[in-house]
């Protein structure tokens, strides 16, 4: 289990989610293995294994800005947080808030939910199969609280300006503190090829590079997003639950004529990718959840909007900075995004899904798709801060 512990503590630090000294990751098979000597581990964390039938437990205090964000949100909300982003409404449902690290409390909340916020400063999560589950839940809480904080500020100011409520001074003070940690610029990226791949192994190589860059540039989180390239009779696509920064053995070749179902392990957005290719002829497709893209996609909220249905259906034609915002759920249900995104992609090379993320495409290489995703995120960041300045 040591290998997996090293892998996921490494990912937490590398992705700026938590500092190594603040992480406790425990795995249990017949014995407990940890990322630090067991004598240094809070005994309450070890005791959780007596109370829960699980095999991994992760507790860490996150890095900024997540640290300040969860401190603020947990102080304000007391009981639990309800994510504003669509993916985490489906995946986490809600995030309980508890006051201390006692094993009894931990086992009580973790018996109901995948992760919790502890003492307004840490995040606890677990796995029943692999520490990867604990990592993914942890990363989801970071992402989800980030999106929640910035959308809450936006919605608050909108309502304030409409004269609907009192100024939330604590929120706005926290905002001033937290924006200091936000970096609006992304380093340029020239690792991604602007030339179309010439053979299958080149396709796979370019996908691996593009996936890595998306994560390295901190444009998206590693576990949320997918990537495809159509070459010959196949669409090559990242597998479900794969990390964008480690696609080496996680790409499925799915025949476009449907003649093999070995791609049953492909990304849950396979249908969207296939439909986009069929509608637009674009071969290189990226999908990810850049933070401000997700945040601003929810900014079009009209008075009559019910946030709980905007995700799946909305009759409005919406856009931000000229980029269309469409509704659609993950997967292939009746309101699945594979019904809305490809249509919109026929006119635009980038389309944002409400409260969820972005699809961007290149005719035959990932370079333009990557640049597009990055430039949309950049302009949504500017747009967000302009909007907030205007509202304040």
């Amino acid at each position: 289990m040591k290998r997996l512990i090293d892998k996921y503590t490494g990912k937490l630090t590398h992705q700026g989610l938590a500092g190594a000294e603040n992480i406790t990751l425990l795995c249990l098979d017949a014995e407990v293995t940890a990322n630090r000597p067991l004598t240094e581990v809070n005994p309450e964390l070890l005791r959780v294994f007596d109370l829960m039938n699980i095999n991994a437990l992760l507790y860490a205090e996150p890095e900024e800005p997540y640290k300040s964000i969860i401190r603020h949100l947990a102080t304000r909300e007391k009981d639990r947080l309800i994510p504003n982003d669509c993916e985490n409404r489906t995946f986490l449902h809600d995030i309980p808030i508890i006051s201390d690290l006692s094993a009894d409390t931990l086992s009580r909340v973790l018996s109901r939910r995948k992760a919790a916020i502890v003492g307004a400063q840490g995040i606890i999560s677990f796995g029943t199969v692999s520490p990867e589950q604990a990592f993914v839940s942890f990363s989801s809480v970071c992402f989800s609280t980030f999106v929640k904080f910035f959308t809450d500020v936006m919605f608050h100011l909108e309502n304030l300006n409409a004269g609907k409520l009192q100024r939330d001074i604590a929120l706005l003070e926290a905002y001033e503190e937290i924006i200091k940690f936000i970096q609006p610029a992304f380093p340029a990226c020239d690792a991604i090829s602007k030339n179309p791949p010439q053979n299958e192994s080149e396709v796979v190589r370019q996908m691996i590079v593009a996936g890595k860059e998306l994560v390295e540039r901190r444009l998206v989180d590693s576990n949320f997003g997918n990537i495809s390239y159509t070459f010959g009779d196949n669409i090559y696509i990242s597998q479900t639950g794969s990390s964008l920064d480690e696609l080496e053995t996680c790409i499925d070749a799915v025949p476009l004529d449907g003649s093999s179902s070995s791609g049953i392990t492909a990304s849950s957005e396979l249908s969207a990718h296939i439909c986009i290719f069929r509608k637009t002829g674009m071969r290189a497709i990226l999908h990810g959840h850049p933070r401000f893209t997700v945040i601003m996609s929810m900014s079009c909220r009209k008075d009559w909007c019910d946030l709980s249905t905007c995700y799946s259906s909305c009759s409005q034609d919406r856009s931000v900075s000229g980029i269309p915002i469409v509704s659609g759920e993950i997967g292939t249900g009746p309101s699945g995004l594979f019904r809305t995104v490809p249509e919109a992609m026929a006119k635009n090379r980038a389309v944002v899904v409400f409260g969820h993320g972005i699809f961007s495409a290149g005719i035959d290489s990932f370079g333009p798709a990557f640049e597009l995703m990055q430039s949309v995120e950049k302009s949504f960041i500017l747009e967000y801060f302009n909007k907030i300045r205007g509202l304040i």
């Binding site: 489906t90 018996s111 003649s259 070995s262 049953i264 849950s268």
Partner: protein
């Protein structure tokens, strides 16, 4: 008790009497329903022979059955296996569970042996035991034609009647309580059919809460590629797995001598859909509808069935596979054991069976019409043992292994060995993470961490079979969401861990009951072949023999994690801790 009818039915076929009893609420609390409740009801009677009058045959629903919860139409049949001698339980689809509960009963316990063939008819609390001489000697369709279309029915064909050791009970024509030969228990009781129909309401404590839980589960299902995706099981049925398992080089071929069959695309999910123009059907209360039926009404075989009548028998004739499946449904035979017994026979005979010969032998087994049929109807283990070649039976505890080669998924190797009903893939279903990447992927060629993963999954699946829900949903949802559903239905508070605790109680009780019949760690083992012969490698995928030492070490870790002693048996302390003291 919300979620339960609070009434159950006891039938004594020796006396031809029936009695309505109160469902023991303490058992419902401790074991939920379905598999758990059935195992607890059998208790120490497990040491009776399968054909003893006192051996119960139990049909059990669960709290979610006949409610709005997704995939809640299932039920469980429980008894002792004529094939393995272990406990036997089969989760079964169709409409039976729903009708049983609507007819007013949580479970039916049948004991006794009738002096002549009978059938049982149940309609809204009314029970009739009647003569079934007119059904004797008939296969499933023949019986069903006489029973008529309304309600649901559970029937045995000739195989059950004549007590083939892997005969099934066939529900609604093509849902099989397949594994372990539970049809022979029904046959031994001379019970040919049960017909059941119900219209009574089922009470739910918190309908709004159930609706919310349902919506949470449905969102996760819709987001799942394996279920509702273009290539998922809703589109292709479980035969969608043919291409994947082929690509992973863990396709049992030629009685597990190889792990790759170059002709498997001739019966893949895609090919079956093209050839038979299949459409979807499925269990009552199910949104997935994984069952596929051809445009002439042909029932499409499940993954295990196509692969075993295909690769395992070197057969690339899809029509013969569909026909083999039909024959098994008609006679009431477990397709996995049937196909694996054929491949064992072929190995001992040192030849490949032609498609026609394969079909002829199935009929001989089902009807037990020939010496060879009677021999093979005893299962591969008894057959190979009698031939002096027990190692050619690819089985664990006498139950033939399904279509995932353990050399290609080490968690599966361990789970085959530890399964309480013998070589079964569904007890822990590690294929979910080792192959399908759900909930996350694990390294399939490693035993690292697998002991605890298997233990947790065994507990989880014991709960799922007791709720009673369908395992496929758990590619997408988890006990987190189902705890909400069962809490809303019953009005009691459950969470993931309290459900897993119940699962542990069920699993350990099963293990204890098996120990009463002499099962120990010596039975938790795989056929020798997997430790000495390699699979069919490709340049990218190397399929080595399993490392015996690593396997044994994972198994002893598993015993330790379970709290078993060195012989793999539950200790008294463990039994007491789980509230199972009364079974000691």
């Amino acid at each position: 008790m919300h979620g339960y009818t609070s009434r159950s039915l006891k039938i004594d076929l020796s006396a031809k009497t029936s009695e309505i009893i109160a469902t023991p609420s303490s058992l419902a609390e401790q074991f939920i329903g379905g598999r758990g409740l059935g195992i607890a009801l059998i208790g120490k009677r497990i040491s009776l022979d399968y054909d003893a009058a006192g051996m119960p045959l139990i049909f059990s629903s669960g709290p979610l059955v006949a409610t709005e919860a997704p995939t809640s139409g299932r039920s469980t049949v429980i008894s002792r296996s004529p094939l393995t001698g272990t406990i036997a339980d089969c989760s079964v689809g169709g409409r039976f569970g729903t009708e049983l509960k609507r007819a007013g009963f949580d479970f039916i316990e049948i004991t006794g042996t009738s002096d002549r063939w009978v059938m049982v008819t149940i309609e809204d609390l009314a029970v009739t035991i009647s003569d079934a001489a007119h059904l004797e000697g008939k296969n499933v369709t023949g019986v069903r034609d006489l029973l008529g279309p309304e309600g649901s029915n559970a029937v045995i064909g000739l195989a059950g009647e004549r007590q083939a050791r892997y005969s099934s009970i066939v529900f609604d024509g093509h849902y099989l309580a397949g594994r372990g030969g539970i049809g022979a228990v029904m046959g031994a009781k001379r019970l040919k059919a049960i017909k059941i129909k119900g219209t009574l309401p089922v009470s739910v404590a918190d309908s709004a809460g159930l609706k919310e839980a349902r919506e949470e589960i449905m969102r996760l299902l819709r987001a799942s590629q394996a279920i509702f995706g273009e290539l998922g099981i809703s589109e292709f049925g479980t035969a969608a797995l043919v291409d994947l398992i082929h690509a992973r080089r863990m396709e049992p071929t030629g009685n597990f001598k190889k792990t790759f069959y170059d002709a498997s695309s001739s019966y893949s999910g895609y090919t079956l859909r093209q050839c038979y123009q299949t459409k979807k059907t499925g269990c009552r209360g199910c949104p997935i509808l994984c069952k596929k039926v051809g445009n002439k009404g042909e029932v499409m075989p499940e993954y295990e069935t196509v692969s075993h009548f295909g690769a395992l028998n070197f057969n690339n004739d899809a029509a013969a596979i569909v026909e083999a499946n039909r024959l098994c449904n008609e006679y009431g035979l477990d397709t996995i054991s049937a196909a694996a017994t054929l491949s064992c026979y072929a190995e001992l005979e040192n030849r490949v069976l032609s498609p026609q010969e394969m079909l002829d032998i199935i009929a001989e087994i089902g009807g037990m019409t020939t010496y060879r049929g009677r021999l093979l109807s005893q299962g591969s283990y008894r057959y190979a043992q009698a031939a002096g070649r027990p190692e050619a039976s690819m089985s664990v505890k006498g139950l033939e292994l399904p279509a995932y080669d353990p050399r290609g998924a080490y968690g599966m190797a361990l789970a085959y060995a530890t399964s309480n009903r013998g070589g079964c893939h569904l007890r822990a279903y590690p294929i979910s993470h080792e192959i399908l990447r759900k909930p996350v992927a694990t390294d399939r060629f490693s035993f690292e961490g697998k002991a605890r993963i298997i233990r947790i999954a065994e507990d989880m699946n014991a709960v799922i079979d007791s709720l009673t829900a369908c395992k496929f949903v758990f590619f997408a949802a988890s006990l987190e969401e189902y705890a909400r559903a069962v809490s809303a239905v019953t009005g009691r508070t459950y969470d993931m861990q309290s459900l897993l605790k119940t699962g542990e109680r069920i699993y350990v009780l099963e293990r204890y009951l098996n120990s009463l019949n002499g099962f120990t760690s010596a039975d938790d083992d795989l056929p020798k072949r997997f430790f000495i012969e390699e699979g069919s490698s490709s340049p990218n995928i190397i399929v080595k023999p399993l490392n015996r030492q690593e396997f044994l070490s994972a198994r002893s870790n598993y015993y330790r994690i379970r709290g078993y002693d060195a012989h793999g048996l539950p200790t008294e302390a463990l039994m007491e801790r789980l509230g199972l003291g009364q079974y000691l």
